[in-house]
């Protein structure tokens, strides 16, 4: 299965949310990373065919998804952000309703709904009204509804928002087990979620692809640009503001270790560190400060 965007463009007034995007997705888990306003949600909505592009098209195995219509939607599972629901429906009723929308028969709908409620840890709450749910419970219900039809293309917008660490682990395991022979696209601000499960990373900036590849490949772009420097705690805040700093960690002796992303050695005592996805995120999406060590 191959999902491809061709010169995909979407504008809102003077803002170009998705800008002549060309990308080819085959089976696997894709992590979509980008700052707020980078165009992630618009891209997902375009892929779900609930927004029409101003230019370009999306094709699945060579066929335009608009023409495929119902056939395409029967392959699709989508968790939007924010996730809308009916407050007076119970969790089970909501899943049965979505099952009916997805064309599942009565028996299959019940089995699948109960199975997914179990998988997302909501089976004990199946007959509770959704309006009584916490944010995390609603989010888990949202994940369950997206997977009801066993979709071949699963698109999840901020799936881990509101989930506690235990639930996030449960989610990662669920998606990893589910993803075989499917296209799973998930966007999140929690970089570690993507780092653990995504097979490919798509970095989006101003509606364009800023980086695309396997995590290690893409992270290797900043090899030699991540540094750790030890500074007195008193001036740590000032130093952190002066550089693109991904982390501050207090050491025992009144000193602080800064993790800095910079093309060249930022301080005398700086030592190179192994880059990770958070460093990459910062490298792409945070504007570098203009100060140098000398100015400090």
């Amino acid at each position: 299965m191959e999902l491809k965007t061709i010169e995909l463009t979407k504008t809102f007034g003077s803002k170009t949310a998705v800008d002549h995007l060309n990308i080819t997705l085959s089976n696997g888990i894709y992590g979509l990373l980008g700052a707020n306003g980078a165009g992630k949600t618009t891209l997902m909505r375009l892929l779900c065919n609930i927004q029409m592009p101003d230019f370009g098209k999306i094709v699945l195995n060579g066929k335009n998804i608009v023409r495929l219509g119902e056939e395409y939607r029967s392959l699709l599972g989508y968790l939007p952000q924010p996730f809308g629901y009916y407050p007076d429906f119970t969790a089970l009723d909501f899943l049965l309703y979505v099952s009916a929308l997805k064309g599942l028969g009565d028996k299959k709908a019940k089995n699948r709904s109960n199975g997914l409620l179990e998988a997302v840890g909501l089976s004990a709450e199946s007959s509770r009204k959704i309006k009584t749910f916490s944010g995390g419970m609603k989010q888990r219900l949202g994940i369950a509804q997206a997977m009801l039809n066993n979709p071949r293309i699963l698109i999840l917008d901020e799936p881990t928002a509101g989930l506690d660490p235990r639930e996030r682990i449960r989610f990662r395991n669920l998606i990893s087990a589910f993803a075989k022979d499917r296209i799973v696209i998930l966007s999140t601000h929690i970089v570690s979620d993507i780092e653990f499960i995504a097979e490919e990373i798509i970095m989006m900036k101003s509606g364009r692809i800023a980086g695309f590849g396997k995590p290690q490949e893409i992270i290797s772009e900043i090899d030699g640009k991540v540094w750790e420097c030890t500074v007195p705690t008193a001036c740590a805040k000032k130093c952190a503001a002066a550089f693109r700093t991904s982390n501050l960690r207090n050491a025992d002796n009144g000193e602080t270790i800064l993790r800095i992303i910079a093309d060249s050695k930022p301080m005398e005592n700086a030592v190179q560190a192994q880059p990770n996805l958070e460093d990459l995120y910062l490298f792409y999406f945070e504007r570098p400060p203009k100060q140098t060590e000398k100015e400090l």
Partner: protein, 358 residues
């Protein structure tokens, strides 16, 4: 599809606002009926008078005495039996109310002093055969049902305004990306809405009629609406139909009105971005004909009268004309409603299917 329609109806009826609105219209239907009943007054001309149940008993007793076809002899007998005994101090006897039968006769056949004005039954009603009996309870029921049906159509608007627009708050994402979201689901919403409005109209109509049957019994349903107390003479339906036919027409027009309202509300619900806007625009459009400067005798009124408000306020629509086969022009409201709801279903489904989530 059946499952989807069930879910859509469940969504409509699960809302607290729907519960409150339906309860309010049922309360209004039953409350108005009992209020009219309690306020009824009758004097039998021989010293017995009363209100409420007693008034209905007096009216029924008098109506039974003269029941059958209205003749000149009966008219003169009624005039004689209820001739004012006191000086009227300049008041017009035709408008003085003692009981339903007296008022019906005096309004048509009395001069200022309460004497026969010299007009015969054929002078007043032409060659129509006027069957008389106890009709007052049913005529008052019909009058109350006008208010109930106007409010009922507003309730339908409250129920249906969120059908599409309510989804635009976030669930549209899920619906429109699902297999049947743009096809069967949109159709299920429209069909569910029509069924829900028909169900509520049935329940409300049944509540009104059942209350009237309990209070007034079934007497008088085969009697003409033309021999009626003073409040049902000026500006009332001028055709010789029975009370039963009047109620059938009224209920049919209530259904055609709610079906038309359903069609219009569905379109606005699909177009408007949120349910409050859909509700406000639908309600404003519903009441718009009330402020249109179109006189009832103009040709344009023949079209405007098919708007839902005039279906509920049925007297104007039923007064337009009687067709050659004896049926009233108002029956055209039924095909008009069928067209309105068909257009409503098609347009709302297409708008919803093409809706872009922003």
């Amino acid at each position: 599809m059946k499952k989807l329609i069930q879910f859509e109806m469940k969504k409509i009826f699960a809302k607290r606002l729907t519960h409150a609105a339906v309860a309010a219209v049922l309360l209004l239907a039953v409350g108005l009926e009992f209020s009219s009943y309690q306020n009824m007054y009758a004097f039998d001309g021989e010293g017995r008078e009363g209100r409420g149940r007693q008034a209905v008993e007096i009216d029924k007793g008098i109506a039974e005495k003269y029941a059958g076809t209205l003749t000149d002899e009966k008219v003169r007998q009624i005039m004689e039996d209820f001739k004012p005994a006191q000086d009227l101090h300049g008041m017009n006897a035709a408008y003085i109310y003692q009981n339903a039968t007296q008022s019906s006769a005096f309004r048509r056949f009395s001069d200022l002093e309460g004497n026969w004005n010299g007009r015969s039954v054929s002078d007043v009603f032409g060659h129509e055969t006027i069957k008389i009996g106890y009709t007052y309870g049913w005529l008052r029921t019909s009058q109350d049902m006008v208010k109930v049906f106007i409010f009922l159509q507003l309730v339908i608007i409250i129920m249906l305004a969120p059908v599409f627009s309510g989804e635009y708050g976030g669930v549209d994402n899920i619906i429109l990306t699902s297999r049947y979201g743009r096809t069967k689901c949109a159709a299920a919403k429209a069909i569910g809405s029509v069924l829900a409005s028909l169900a509520v109209t049935t329940v409300v109509s049944a509540a009104s009629i059942a209350s009237a049957l309990i209070l007034y019994g079934s007497n008088g349903l085969d009697c003409s609406i033309l021999f009626a107390p003073t409040e049902f003479v000026d500006g009332y339906i001028p055709f010789n139909i029975t009370c039963g036919a009047l109620l059938k027409y009224q209920i049919l027009l209530a259904f055609s009105g709610t079906v038309s309202v359903t069609g219009i509300t569905l379109i606005l619900s699909a177009i408007c971005k949120n349910q409050m806007t859909a509700l406000a625009v639908s309600a404003a459009l519903y009441f718009l004909p009330a402020v249109l400067p179109v006189p009832e005798n103009s040709a344009l009124f023949k079209l405007i009268a098919f708007l839902p408000l005039y279906n509920a306020q049925f007297v104007s629509l039923m007064s337009i004309s009687q067709m050659g086969n004896g049926l009233l022009y108002s029956l055209w409201a039924v095909p008009v409603a069928a067209v309105a709801v068909s257009v409503g279903i098609v347009v709302s489904c297409r708008v919803f299917a093409r809706h872009q989530v922003l």
